[in-house]
């Protein structure tokens, strides 16, 4: 296999990895603000893609508007989830919270299946399907969109967290909730905001990837899990690590599939996850803050 094949794997890996990174980012935002791992994160990604298809194919809204609306609706869904299922149990044990988010995840999936069926759907690429070729490596215009949007979103979020009062408030919650509460930060509002932003970020990931990989009611599971693996790879709690972890995971997966075996592609993500959990649970960029019993 020539160098162009390897470069091709790299490109495919970065493309898919961006969505993993965005999903991982969503996990991190909620985790940082609330300490919960939101198992339903993958469903936000699914909704981003499926709702875009819905608005486009059923309501004929045209691609840009469909995507925009799907982002909006998914963000509202995130808010609804926080209000109706997380807030009532916020003082429960860790295990209860995990179970609630699992419940939300499968409920959302079930709802999507009832409404849209089990079919697979395709979203048209944002700017046509003719790929660009650079020295034997084909890059779809969609890949360029994906990388561009992901990077812009990362910069926007970074600015949000460091420059705006809401962002700083959310960061404060992640360091110490009681202290934040004491200085007057509306912790509940921060939690709500974190869910909405995570939903938005996840939906973006779903909408930009759908033209490349097609979408259906159950893409959320695997995407969510891989996004989570990316989180751990980068260090749980570290947004930059999450994004980097996602890209790394995508590339690892792509190379694994291309060089070793395409059949075990999905297993790579989890193999890496398991190895990391055993060897360095704080991930590549995380602080060694993991408590030991």
């Amino acid at each position: 296999m020539g160098i162009s094949s390897y470069l091709q794997f790299l490109v495919s890996g970065l493309t898919v990895g961006s969505t993993y990174g965005l999903t991982a980012l969503g996990f991190t935002i909620i985790f940082n603000t609330t300490g919960i791992i939101n198992f339903a994160q993958g469903e936000f990604v699914m909704l981003g893609g499926m709702l875009s298809v819905f608005f486009l194919k059923w309501l004929h809204l045209g691609l840009p508007l469909s995507v925009l609306f799907s982002l909006l609706v998914t963000t509202l869904v995130g808010a609804a989830i926080e209000q109706f299922t997380i807030k009532p149990v916020k003082d429960s044990s860790v295990i209860n919270l995990i179970i609630v988010t699992i419940g939300v995840s499968i409920f959302t999936r079930g709802l999507a299946m009832l409404i849209w069926g089990k079919d697979t759907f395709a979203l048209p690429q944002f700017s046509g399907s003719a790929p660009l070729t650079f020295g034997g490596v084909a890059v779809t215009t969609q890949s360029i969109w994906i990388l561009a949007i992901t990077l812009s979103l990362l910069f926007l979020l970074r600015a949000f967290f460091t420059k705006t009062i809401y962002g700083k408030g959310m960061l404060a919650c992640s360091y110490d909730r009681k202290a934040s509460y004491l200085v007057g930060i509306g912790v509940q509002k921060m939690v709500l905001l974190s869910f909405m932003i995570s939903a938005l970020v996840g939906a973006v990931g779903g909408a930009i990837l759908a033209p490349v990989t097609m979408t259906s009611y159950d893409v959320g599971i695997l995407l969510g899990l891989k996004g989570f693996a990316a989180c751990i790879i980068g260090g749980l709690g570290n947004p930059f690590g999450a994004a980097a972890g996602g890209l790394l995971l995508g590339v690892l997966e792509s190379f694994g599939a291309g060089v070793i075996s395409s059949a075990y592609k999905d297993a790579f993500a989890f193999l890496v996850l398991l190895i990391l959990l055993f060897v360095k649970p704080s991930g590549l960029f995380g602080q060694t803050r993991v408590e030991r019993v």
Binding site: Q8, V16, P131, M214, L222, A263, K265
Partner: protein, 381 residues
């Protein structure tokens, strides 16, 4: 608290026992279709066709004076549910014959039950291994993958292609096809330079296609059912490849064209005559029955036909014809009558069964088609 739990448990059990099926004086035929799940584009038209046929037959007075009752179970494209459905049909509903399942994998899983229970099974799945080696009680109506492969290879040889790449799905249908593809290639003078596999739920095959791109193949043969082949079609365009792409008859439905979009252009595959019925010459014995089926199906279900529905239609017709000619609804007699059926003009093709051939079709049941401007077109030889 324990008492209450026990009460709940007891209630559940009592309710279970009350749902006993009551016997009717009808001919009970079982059906297992993948109406939902990844194979639903196969199973749904199959179920629709079978139900439509049931109504048509009963409207004419049934078979030998008795109405037929079709008991349909949805296996959701899941092999465990198929096994459960087979159990239900054999043990609970006590049917005299079963048509289906939709997929090869599901058929393999339940075949032995029918051999043990001495009830005939007419599968709507394509894998040749279902009837080769022949099992006494198992038949099938779709064309074998062997026929499809031969049709594709004939075309490749005519185009002077030498090296081919395979990309197959890891399920029963895909692997069955892959075995036949590998077996027949050397006989036709074709060299397989790449042999890639993908999973039924995979959404990205660029890695496999990249490897194929580097292998020097002159044609790609993809064996699988939706949505995989659609992804492969799109990935191929995304990678800027123009190596000719051939598909199996598993994608002979409009859904494939819909999913693959413009990436479907130029793809070639063997297909039953149904989807190109209007392009078939009038002297073909199947033409009349094809047009009737299209008219009946499309007016009742307001959806385009697919060759897959025909598999179930032919299977059900075989069973009812067997009851009529054999003058018996005894499972063993049904089996014997089906095995003796010759010259049956079905929608899938013209069937000639025998003790050695439980599929009954030959190459004439296929036409080689190409996808042009979003529609099927017979390739002129």
């Amino acid at each position: 608290m324990k008492k209450v739990s026990l009460c709940i448990a007891a209630l559940s059990l009592v309710a279970l026992s009350l749902s006993a099926a009551f016997a009717e004086d009808a001919l009970k035929i079982g059906a297992i279709f993948s109406v939902t799940g990844p194979a639903s584009f196969l199973g749904e038209p199959e179920k629709n066709t079978a139900l439509m046929l049931q109504d048509q037959i009963n409207a004419k007075g049934g078979v030998s004076g008795k109405k037929i009752e079709l008991i349909v179970y949805d296996d959701e494209s899941d092999v465990n549910k198929a096994v459960l459905a087979a159990d239900k049909l054999l043990k609970k509903d006590k049917v005299m014959a079963v048509i289906g399942p939709t997929t090869s994998g599901n058929t393999f899983a339940i075949e032995d039950k029918f051999e043990k229970a001495n009830i005939p099974l007419i599968s709507c799945a394509a894998a040749e291994k279902i009837v080769k080696p022949v099992k006494k009680w198992v038949f099938k109506t779709p064309q074998s993958d062997r026929l499809a492969v031969m049709k594709i290879y004939d075309t490749l040889v005519a185009k002077k292609t030498k090296k081919i790449a395979l990309i197959t799905v890891s399920d029963g249908f895909g692997q069955s096809g892959r075995e036949v593809l590998k077996e027949l290639a050397p006989r036709m003078g074709l060299e397989i330079v790449a042999d890639e596999v993908y999973g039924p739920k995979d959404t990205d095959m660029t890695a496999q296609l990249t490897k194929i791109r580097g292998s020097g193949a002159g044609a790609i043969v993809c064996w699988g059912t939706n949505p995989g082949p659609a992804v492969i079609a799109k990935n191929r365009v995304q990678l800027g490849m123009d190596i000719p792409l051939y598909m199996s008859h598993g994608v002979a439905s409009k859904k494939f064209i819909e999913l693959a979009g413009s990436a479907a252009e130029g793809i070639m595959l063997p297909a039953g005559k149904l989807i190109v019925a209007d392009q078939i010459p009038g002297i073909d014995p199947q033409k009349a029955i094809l047009l009737k089926y299209i008219k009946d199906y499309e007016s009742r279900y307001k959806a385009p036909v697919s060759s897959f529905g025909a598999y179930a239609g032919d299977a059900l017709t075989l069973v009812t014809k067997a009851v009529e000619t054999g003058k018996s609804s005894n499972p063993a007699d049904i089996r014997n009558s089906v095995e003796k059926t010759k010259g049956f003009v079905g929608i899938t093709g013209v069937f000639n069964f025998s003790p050695e051939d439980h599929n009954g079709l030959d190459e004439n049941s296929f036409e080689m088609v190409v996808i042009e401007r979003g529609d099927w077109k017979i390739i002129k030889k």
